[in-house]
Symmetry: C2
Subunit: 234 residues, 2 copies
DNA sequence: CTACAGTCTACTGTTAACAATCCAATCAAC
DNA sequence: GTTGATTGGATTGTTAACAGTAGACTGTAG
């Protein structure tokens, strides 16, 4: 029993492997727009440009497919995923179901240590001058906040389901160009309110709050998509 | 979990590749108990016994990891997943969230053609003599029923989230040994009722119904787990 | 007996060559 | 002009050999 008294601080260092690096590179390339939607991902090309063999490339592509960034068809290769209005509907309806469960579990299971990262993100948000705030920066903070929320739920399978949506949501957050002042203000207020409710462990209030939160986000996205690309109704 | 023999009309024939066969073999071996929980899966051994190289084996293992049947650690290999009470809690809480969304979407989107497979499964259930009914057979019909329900929701991402749980739920359904008469009766009634409500497109009723359905299943499972293995409270 | 260093083996991660498949271009037939 | 077969190049699926790591095993010292 007294084998190793100190467990939590030192975790087994997560070994990184080539596939991990490749997946990160490709993800970044897609999210930054260097690979355009619908573009083919050719294993040989990627292998050469990243200086690895095709093995890790294939595995990374498979992983990105799980994340919804890439579509893969047998013997036909992988392409960067296209998103339509229908995809947005799927993503946000599933997201709402997942986050409702997440806040419920977070209310019940989260310790103060779990919620600290959420505070930190809000603090970081406020510390950044509005002038130097970019769309991408807000998107990162947004994803990080919700990611921390899912972690706080202490629910491994729920977290993995969230991982399958996370990158796709990030894509949506990057879509809009402007960054109006009132958006930044309401962003902070909405997330601070959500965190306060979770901290108070009021499950019904938390569920209502997250529902409104997600629905509002979906509403803004839908409006934007209808404005810019009314054609593809998926 | 029987494969639907009817190919969907006018769709690109799904090309099968070695990885698919390997994944099926391994899944079957795990679900049938030939590979025991916690057992290591050694790539070379599997490759030799299945007469393929290690490439497809590795890919299949990653796929099974996604399904939650195996656990993989870098440089340490894959083992058959162990399930604890905590896992059961995760699986059923997530399942409830997913199925609530599924019935809601099914109420809204499902055509009569989508619901026909559900009728067929119930009919098939009744056509099998109680004497020749096995635990495994009921489990297959159960999974098939819910699988058809998820398909009827017409929600690709939701279906993929369900796929990540499906096999694990199947494992739970196989756990219990007996097959009491009243279980068979209530199984039929519960599923027939659920289908009727979905067909009537009464969303709130359907959600309530599926909640009770999943909670009842979880209750039975928990009771069983506490009886047989009260040690691992994981 | 316990603790620790060095070796050894079994296994996974990676690579590069080989085989099978798709797709577009070409051309013949109707 | 459209349909259907053919062929060649590009690209993915598969294999087998190579490289690196984790864990067990030995032996030694305290």
């Amino acid at each position: 029993m007294s084998k190793s008294p100190i467990t939590p601080p030192l975790q087994r260092r997560e070994r990184r492997v080539l596939t991990d690096d490749v997946a990160d590179s490709l993800r970044e390339a897609i999210l930054s727009g260097r690979f355009k939607r619908g573009e083919r991902l050719i294993e040989d090309e990627l292998a050469e440009s990243l200086n690895v063999s095709r093995g890790p490339i294939r595995q990374a592509i498979f992983r990105l497919q799980q994340e919804g960034l890439v579509v893969h068809e047998t013997h036909r290769g992988a392409t960067v995923a296209q998103i339509s209005l229908h995809d947005a509907s799927e993503i946000y309806s599933l997201r709402k179901a997942l986050e409702k469960l997440a806040v419920e579990q977070a209310c019940r299971n989260a310790t103060e240590a779990d919620l600290a990262p959420l505070d930190a993100i809000l603090l970081l948000f406020q510390s950044i001058p509005r002038a130097s705030m970019t769309r991408r920066r807000v998107a990162e903070l947004d994803i990080d906040f919700h990611d921390a929320l899912f972690r706080a739920a202490h629910h491994g399978r729920l977290y993995r389901a969230w991982e399958a949506l996370r990158s796709q949501i990030f894509v949506f957050l990057l879509l809009r160009d402007g960054l109006p002042e009132d958006y930044l203000t309401s962003w902070y207020q909405a997330h601070a309110r959500l965190l306060a409710i979770v901290r108070s462990q009021d499950v019904p209030a938390a569920i209502t709050c997250i529902e409104e939160h997600i629905e509002a986000a979906y509403g803004r996205l839908k409006e934007h998509l209808l404005e810019t690309e009314p054609a593809q109704a998926g």
